[in-house]
Symmetry: C2
Subunit: 118 residues, 2 copies
């Protein structure tokens, strides 16, 4: 029987690589706490973007709640570029365009989405 309370290491979760060489580059995504783990309402993911990499520049009807774990980078938005670094939190409301870009070294962050945003 599995433990009811799950403790895991993010490095032990298999990464999905997001990199089409154009819209996204050098992104590793790990679903830490998702539907498979029994998440009732929202999904916790871990992202690592290597230096020079970026997520897609897009918008969608659900929010992101983000905490930057390490590194620094730029968040491109409709309001311009915002600097982000370890220890920052980021709230992207629904329908706001956003793109996370690593600068210098890799950047790592936690990003939580509603389960209907899968």
């Amino acid at each position: 029987m599995n433990d009811l309370i799950l403790v895991g290491k993010h490095n032990d979760v298999k990464a999905e690589i997001i990199d089409d060489g154009q819209n996204a580059r050098g992104v590793e995504k790990r679903v830490l706490i998702g539907l498979k783990e029994g998440a009732p309402n929202y999904i916790m993911r871990h992202f690592k973007i290597k230096a020079g990499g970026f997520t897609p520049n897009h918008a969608h009807p659900w929010e992101h709640e983000v905490y930057i774990l390490k590194g620094n980078g730029i968040l491109k938005t409709s309001e311009g570029e915002k600097l982000i670094k370890g220890g920052d939190y980021v709230f992207v409301p629904p329908n706001e365009s956003h793109q996370f870009c690593a600068e210098g070294g890799a950047i790592e962050f936690i990003c939580v989405i509603p389960k209907h945003g899968q």
Copy 2:
């Protein structure tokens, strides 16, 4: 006008001290992304527990999705004690008892709850 996309530093958020000397000790709680910031579905909080401190041992009908930022400690559960350290994620399903305890040094973590769990 406030920016639509919010970027903040967790250290700039005022802490609520949770410490009655008995059920909880040495806990700083910061609501990073909450109702005030427009969170539609779930709330991101930052916790820091000083060495030897602990959160209340309790259970409630909502889940926790947690990411340990730094430090190490013990999570007390109905299944026994689980070691936790920086880089770990923790899923506490609804109604499972839990208590986060710092060991050695301080421990810091992100904890996400549904907005109806306020």
